[in-house]
Structures are given as C-alpha cells and as structure tokens.
Symmetry: D2
Subunit: 350 residues, 4 copies
C-alpha cells in the first residue's frame, strides 16, 4: 500500500483522456484514486459494452454516473475530462463547491466571446472562465501554483506553443509576419465516440486535413503566444495512428539571426525543464520518440536565404497534450516534484 | 463510349460492397450503370456527408433513395448490397417484378429456420429463399447459368469453402472429424457504419476474435461443403487492415494420404479455374497477394505424423468475397467470358 | 487476345514502380509486355526470394537480369525504373540504340550541375539529360508528343507542381515570396529495398520529416514552376501508409485576389484535363480518394486577411507520381487516347 | 535518487528487448543500470544511426561495444538479449564468471540435440544449457529462486503455455490428441534488423503465416507442457502491428468436461498470480488489453458437441514475452515482490 496524500477523482473516466489519467495515477505515489464517473449523459454506454469484461473489472473502482455530491464528498482534487460544452459547466460547479479542479476540455481556455465564435456552444460560467489559470506548465508556474481551477491546454496548442514561444519571447520572430503551423494528429485526439470519419476502414492508409481555417485551437495558440488575432495559420490533419502530435511550424525570423542564436535562445528557455528535449540543429524528432511519456521533443532547421525557421515539435497527445500535463499541473499545485508519476522517460516503442 | 448491352443498378451503392461494384462495373465493357440507390432507411446520410465533395460528384450518376418502380424501369439486372435483414426483402421484390437480382447479403443463403437461428432477424420471403441459387461460382455454374436470383456467398464462406471443398469431394477428408477454420478478416467486412469496435484508435494495433461459436457463416460453410451441422469450428477475427480474408484451416486427412495426392486433388478441381491460384506444397499465401483482384490463392502444408492438413486461403473480401464474385456470377448468367471486368490479375500492392 | 501494337519492356521490374507498370500494362489494350528485367546489380535477389512462389510465377514473362542487347531486340519502348544513379545511364544507352525510353528515376530531370549538387552521384550522359523531355504531361504535351526520351517527374514534384502551376501562370502568386510545400508521402516512395528507417516496427504508428532542407525534388519543383532557386521550402515527411502523397502548400497571393478568381484560374487550366479533379473552394481532398488511380485531386482554402492561399493536392505516388504518369506519357507519344490503360476512376477504397 | 541495491547490465541494449528492458529498469526501484552494450558484431551500427539524436543521448549511460571484463566488473546481474546463436555463448561466459545471467534468446531453452535440429546453429555450451532454469515464472518459481542462469522463455511459448498448462495439469486435456496453436504476432517479435519481409510497404495491410511446421518454439511449448513430440501444431503468423501476441488454441477435452469445470481449473491455477487475468467464460481478450503491461489475459469458449475447447491468450511480446518476464524472474531471484517495476496494470491504450 502506498501512503496516499490526496484523494483524486476523474469525471469522464471512460474517454481516452480519462483512461490515460487512470493509467498515470494508478502509479502516482502521492494520490489515491477515489472516484471515477462517466459523463452524466450516459453517452458512454456504448463504450462500456466492449470493455466490460476487460480492464474496468480488474480495477477496484467502479465507474459511476456522475453526481456532484458524491464527487465533492469523495475527492480533494478532480479532473474533468468531458467533451467541450459540458465539461466546463461541471468543472465550474465542482470548483465552486471547493474542490481543486483541472478541466481538460476547451471550455475554460478562451474568453467567453471568442469561445462562442470558435466553439459555437454556450460558454461555461464567466467567473469560472476568468478565474481559470491556463495550465501550460512551462510558462505559467507561478499562477498554477496558486490556482484551484486549471484550464488544461489543448493538444495542438501545447505542441505549437512549446515550439514557438522561445522565438517570440527571445525577439527572434519577425513581428507581424504570419506563422504557419502545419500540424498532424493521431486519431485519439478526436475522442472515443465513433464517427464516420474515424471508422477504421476509412482512416487506415488515409490522411487529410480537417477544419481548415476554423480549428478552435487557433485562437488558443495566439493567446498563449501573446500574438494578435490572425497571426497563426493552423492546419490540423489526421494521421492514421492512434496517438501523437507532430507540428511543423514555419516562422519568419530576423534576417540577421543565426542558427547558433536560435539554438541558444531555445536552450535559455528550456534547459531546466524536465519535460522538454531539444535536439541539436538539423536533427528532426519522430512521433514515436515521445509516445507514453510526458515529453515534448523539439528540433529546428534554418533556411537562411529565405529567413524562415522550421520548428518541429512532438508530443503524445494524451500525455503532454492532455492527461500528462494535467498531472504535471496537479504536481505544481501540490508542491510535489513536477515529475511525480511522470517519470517514464523511455517511449513506448516500438 | 463502350457498347452497352445490359442496364445495371445497385441498391446500396454507398456501402463498401456497393462502391466496389461501381469500381468494377465502371470498367466492365458489357454493362451500363443506370441506377444507383442508397438504403431506403437513409441511414447512409452520415456516410454521404463526408465524401460529398469527392467521388460521387465526379460520377455521372446520382445516388438516389431507393424506389422499386424506378429501379425496375431503369435496370435489367440489379445488385442488392444492403445489410442483412432488409436486403433479402428488396431482392425478393425486384426478382418478383422480373429483374435478374444478385443479393450480396446473407438473407437468401440459408433455409428459413436456420436463418432465424443464426441471424435472429425475420427471414426473407420463403419462395425467394428457396429459388435463390447459391452463387459460389466454381461449384455451381450450371445452376447459376439458369438463375434469375442469386444468393451471393459470404466472404468467410467463400474463402473457407474454396480451401476445403476439393478435400471433401476428393475423399481425402477423414469423415466425421471436426474441421477448424481459423479466419481473419479486414475491417471493411464489418460494413461502413461506424461502431465502437471499428473506431480507428480501438482497432489500430489491435486484433481479436468476435462472435466466437456463433458466427452466421458457420452453417453457410457446412451447407456449401455438404457437411453435417457441427462439422466446422469457425473462428472469426478482426485484423487491423481495411481489406482481405485469410483462412487457416486444419483438417484431419486419411492417414495414408500423401502430399502429392493432396496436391493432385486440388489441381484436378482447380486447374481450369480462372480465379484460383494454387501454390506448390509448402508455400504460403499472403493477404496482399490478392487485394484488388478476384483471385483466391491457396497453399497447404501436411503434418503427416498428426494426419493434419493445414490449408491457407486468401481472398479480397470485397472482390471474390463480395462484389467481384457477384460480377463473376453476372458474367455466368449472361454467358459472357467469366473474367469480363475482372481481368486485373496483379494485386494492388504495396 | 488483344491486338498488340507496341512491344514494351520494363527494366527494374521487381521494384514498386516496375510492378505498378506491370499492373497497369497487363490491362493496357495497345501494348504487349515483352521484356522484364531486374537491376543489373542483382540487388533484387532479396526481393525476389519472398514472392518467388506467388505473383511472378503466374505471369507469363520471366524477370531476367538486364542485358542491353536482349532489351533492344525485344522492345519498341522501354520503361527504366531503377534507383537514381544507375537508371539514367541505362536509359541513355537504350535511347542511343533507338528505343523510345521513359526513365522514372531522377537522373534526367535536372541539369548536370544541379544534379551533382542535389543527388551527389555521377550524372547521366549530358546529351541524354539535355535531350530528355520533362514528362509532367499536363504542362508539356507538345514536347512529349515528339520525344523519344522522357524524364518522368518525381512524385513530390508532380503533386506540388500540379497544385501550384496555375497560380504562377495566372499571375496570382505574389512574386518573390517563399512558397511552403509541406508534403507527406507513403513509404513505397522510398523504394523496395529494406532499411532501418522503413522497418515495420519503427514506422508503424510513427511520422517524421526527413532530408529537411535538402530533398532532391526541391530544385525539380522550382524548375518546373519556372521559379528562381530558393523560392520553395519543401518539407518531405513519411506517413505510416504504403501509398499516396499529400501536399499542403502555403502561397502568398496578391492581396486583392478573391476566392472566385482563384477558382476560375484553376478551372481555366484544368477543366479539360482528364486526370485532374478540382474540388469546390473549402473542400479538402483525402489521400485515399486517388489510390489506385492516375488522378490528382486539388482543393484550396484562402486566408484573406493573411493573403495566404492553402492548396491541398493528392496523388497516388506509384500512379500519377510514377508508373501511371509514365504510361500517360507513352500514350501521348503514341498518339493514343491519353487515358488508355488508366481508365480506373474509382479509387481502391477502402 | 533511488536507493540502489543491484547493479544491472544489458548486453544487446539497442534491440527491441534491450530497449524494453531499459524502459522497465529505468523505473525499477531496486536496481541501478550500470552497463549497456551492443552486440559484439556491431551489426547495430545501422540501428544507432537513426536514433543517434534522440533517446540514447538523453540517457546517462553510453551504449558500448560488448566486453566481458567491463561487464563483469560493473554488474551483479546481466540481461543478455542478443540474436539466437550468439546470445547463449555470451550468457554462458558471464555466468561462468560469476554473474547472475538472464538470457532472453532461445539458446539455452532446449537440449543440445533439439536445439541443433530446430535452430540449425551451433549450440551454447552444454553445461550452461543444462544448468539454465527455464524462466516461465508461474510454473517454475522454486527453481528460479535458486538460479543464477535463466533461459527466459520465448514469446509464443509463454503465451501458449500459459493458455494450456492448467488443462494438462488438471487432467482435462484428452491425452494424445493434437493441440492446434494458431498464433499471431506483432512484428517486433522479428527483431530490429530490417529485412524484406518486415519492410513497411510489404507488411502494411498484410498478414501471413511463416515457418509453418518448423517454428523453433514448437518443441519449447511441448517441453514446457511436458507433452511428447508432435503434440502441438504451431502456426506462427505476422500481424501488421508493432507489438503483441494473440494465441487461439484448439484443445480436445474430455467429453464429460463442463465449462464450469474448466473455469474452476483455470482459477485454481491462476487465482493468486499477479500477472494472469482470467476472463469469464465466453469473453474474449483483445491484443491491446495488455500492451505495455506484463499481463497475460486468458479467455475460453467450449464447443461441447465437438469436445473442443478454444483458449484465447494475449501478451505483450516485449513484456511478458521477453523483457517483462525477464525482470519478473530477476525479482524472484532477488526475493523482491514479483511486481516490482512491473506495476503498470493499465495498458498503453489506445
């Protein structure tokens, strides 16, 4: 038996992020999983059917229909990992009732007006949205440390922001130029509900862009980079793999800027970060170098004649892009070593 | 412009078998595609959405909601490729109104009583079921030639029957022993409707058996091999690939039986068959050796000490296992060369 | 038996492009396959081993070690599909001896000096290189018609040039701006020789960029678009699929340029092309919409505030990107209908 | 810093089993990784190239060419994970020099005469082979506890033996009948050296049997089940996935045998096992239910009329089938809790 310090619940425990949270937290030495709930809408019945006889049965905890009272009484901290549109409401409610809440949906990340434009759904309560701290850990530790409500970043936004922020902070980005973020994602990013688009025979051997010009992570990236609207062109594309995000970004840099300067700039920002790995100039990351870990690996290549820097960035969308970063934020809030429960440094490979 | 002789329709044109029929028939020199319909239930709306801007638009024919009158007036021959339970009803109706009908579902393959047990659905009209000729072309040409209503075989049943029939007909099978058919199928065999089981992230990198002991192709194989009930143990398993069926069968053979005898037996039955390829003893087929073709490739290996013959058999489930064999049957009915429209002998590979 | 007009050979018949040529030509009504050879270096022994018992045996033609005399005496036209570095030499020799030659390698596409820089190999004979006509059919028909030596375009170059040329020809491209071509390719583009990088367990579930800043198709695209050196940033990336190329291009367009103008521009150039499909503005192609066909499908999306046009373009790398376009060029040279042998319009899907 | 008790080395650290050992051991609280070596033949240079810039650099330990002296001086325990033929030699040498050695190859599993027949290679020193304890942990704990040289079981053998042993021990297996083991494996089972067969474009979308009738795990299974030669027909088949083994076994059982009896028999043997999960009768495991874990999940289905029991068994071939079981054996030898370092119970899924 491990010594447990904090009682943790998961609302949305049957989705991919919820399951990944269980995978991480069942080995996290400082927490005790005390409450697992599915979506209140019960749309996960379908999901449950198939795995009924498998993993859940072997776990000590049943997955219950969500009830706020049960959740509040059994948890100190709760992760809410429901679809956008309902997640923020529940996160706000649980926060209002005193829990520490980490919301993995997009509901608390954008100001209400932008949320309505990009998500097309009724926004979460304004107070919760305004209070929520954006949980891109590397750039927001002081606020996260004091927070009781976290808006955990989107997977594309995490991968792109980590790739680009040092350039902007370091003044290497040529101001007012358009940054192209050509991003590719594994299918688990689309969630666990089956659709025509994610039907196996359609996607096997396939690849395509979707939501071109209107993906909701676009304003999230601009906001987290402190750039004005329209600075980013984000292309989101579906890879025929289960996991991982690969970002290829194209950034105009100051003409005089050398590869050594760029390298130094990235190292300045990231050298003390436990989850960021910088490759030497010219080396390119692979998607599978991070699967199963909370790492983000970054490489870059300068086209000096064109004044364009290519930045390559990879994460596991369910780890650093969702559940892993959520646990990282929990560790920061609790004052635990940031890598607790996230020690796995060798990828699940092959 | 090709000279057209026969007006052909497809009911169920948006499913995988329906689309494969279009792929074949759009290059078949003797037919003209005159009518494409989707399921009357309109459940294909979902399907249509995604490809709206792609292939269908480039085809001259619209895909209409099914109407019997339109179908009858515009076609001489119709392929019905709807889900079991509704396909046989429509096939029976169109046949009663004078069309030549090839039904790709399981609805007309089994006697009514067996159908009800294994499919658990209301059976098609008894007269149609009793009239329908089982369309495993290689073993049923005389009846097919005269038929106006075809029950096109199931994909597993085609692959297993082609692997086993020569042994039974040739008297090499040890009577009253159990034949094990360990079969693996690509996911397109499950149809185009998305489900949790066929959601990409669940199946990518996965493999599992399903409907163990109760797959509806079991009695179809026993019937087409003229074996008594319970002779076959059929295991159906899902491969994380879009197409293809791979059968590994284990058959008790007479102890005295040599590999040369077995080889001769297969050659006797198949040497004049345009779509069957026999490998020399000991060579093993690969799934991708037949993709995109109407071929069935068969190999075998004798375990003499155990008196067990392993037979390996592969087909493309949408070709020889569905649309290809359906066109082969059309060719037989019309008295055309059996390979018309099915000339592709080199697989789609890699 | 088909009436044969032209005797055709393939040197490099065991590689992926060679096999695809056989797949196409075995159904091409105007040619007769008379000669198949493997690489003179015999490096294909490895390849042959595995499929020894399968397809090749079923084809009437043996695959011989290459000999120029045999090739010259048995063919009118020959496709040379060997690795860059040896392909151009053999193509030049066969052309000098009077055959019509279509070379699928990169050896004859670039001027000698550029070839040496980007390929790092000894160039093909200068006369052959200078005589060879670049076979991007859509933009070079008059020259192709009269040619006896074709430099068949690269797969990435075909896909990118078809996406971009109308914008440049139509004056919509903002001159002297950098065009980003973010390209993704199936693994068959890397050829049939096994390497660590293309070992199945490494690539399954993986994705990564390679040869960043130094892919040899970069100058080929610039040349075919008539742009100056350095106009293109080409990123080549490996998709975990067997086939297909997907190009996402980002082009600065004149600020005043509307989506209707762009649409009209593409239609002006492509409306009479049998193998180009334009999607309506905002619709995005999928990789699997073209597999098994010689088609190129193009879609685009305008970001008006940024003055950036995204163009999406897909081809089957072994068809329009190699063997298919090679046959298209043969058809042009011979004065046959350009779609002969390439009639398949429905993709191999799913 | 963890408290370290035992210094551990890996010879063969760049292969798949070696890397998986690093993945496990870097989180194992009782060991310290002190020595990593590649094959003495240096054939792994190829492997190293590609990942040079990625994981190895981030690990504190360099991967050295193997030298016995260095290994002996720096380790208490060593895992040898080299290809069969060279692994056993090195294991024997290190054991003779006093180390505790766990050999993951097939070299020490079979008596010398059988080894020569099935492996066709020079056998390891006889004394080492005869001393080595077969490390199928569940059935051999007393001997393992006292061992200093372990022959770690093969992946197929582990999966099949765990599926079948209770039936034999419990007297439910009908003696002298042939057991069919239809097994499917992910490609990492073939190791990290690229071959034509494991080239991505050949295997993607493919499936096939290999080494039919002559797979070297056949006698290993018979031996570990204490059955006479020829009792098992093992079919090994390659799945287009990176990881996992799926066994479908067909066993003749005593006619009177009920499903409850079978269920009870399995539970008797496995109820106290930390890594075996039994599914209720009729439930079927999936490959992905165990990936990334050291678990073996077993399900079964009785065909009472035929007297045939189907047993389904899944493992991760690199975990319970190789590195995981090797660490489990280390734990037993050291007297540590058997799950140390192997606590992950939730699969890497999706």
């Amino acid at each position: 038996m491990r010594e447990t310090e904090v009682r943790v619940g998961i609302v949305g425990a049957t989705g991919y992020s919820g399951r990944e949270l269980i995978r991480i937290l069942s080995r996290h030495e400082r927490v005790s999983l005390t409450y697992l709930a599915r979506s209140p809408e019960g749309l996960k019945n379908r999901v449950e059917t198939r795995s009924a006889g498998s993993e859940p049965r072997f776990h000590r905890l049943p997955v219950l229909p969500y009830e706020a009272d049960a959740c509040v009484s059994q948890c100190d901290v709760v992760f809410v990992a429901l679809p956008s549109g309902s997640s923020g409401q529940i996160a706000a409610e649980l926060w209002a009732r005193g829990l520490v809440v980490i919301d993995l949906s997009g509901d608390l990340r954008l100001p209400t007006d932008k949320y309505e434009v990009w998500y097309g759904k009724p926004p979460a309560p304004k107070e919760a949205q305004e209070t929520a701290v954006y949980g891109l850990t590397e750039f927001n530790r002081p606020l996260i440390r004091a927070a009781r409500l976290i808006a955990n970043p989107g997977c594309y936004a995490t991968c792109a922001t980590l790739a680009l922020y040092p350039l902007i902070q370091g003044g290497l980005y040529a101001p007012n130029t358009t940054i192209v973020v050509d991003a590719k994602s594994g299918v688990s990013g689309a969630g666990r509900t089956p659709t025509q688009n994610t039907h196996f025979p359609e996607l096997a051997g396939n690849f395509y862009a979707y939501r071109v010009g209107r993906h909701q992570h676009t304003p999230e990236i601009e906001q987290s980079l402190r750039l004005s609207d329209g600075s980013i062109i984000l292309t989101t594309q579906l890879l025929p793999v289960a996991r991982g995000i690969y970002v290829t970004a194209y950034v105009k840099v100051e003409k005089t800027c050398s590869i050594d300067e760029i390298d130094a700039c990235f190292h300045r920002v990231y050298d003390s970060e436990p989850f960021i790995r910088l490759l030497p100039p010219g080396e390119i990351p692979e998607l599978k170098h991070v699967l199963g870990t909370n790492l983000c690996t970054i490489g870059f290549h300068l086209h000096p004649n064109q004044g364009v820097l290519q930045v390559f960035s990879v994460i596991d969308n369910l780890m650093k892009g969702a559940a892993g970063q959520a646990v990282q934020n929990l560790n920061v809030i609790q004052g635990w070593p940031e890598t607790t429960g996230l020690e796995q440094e060798w990828p699940f490979y092959p």
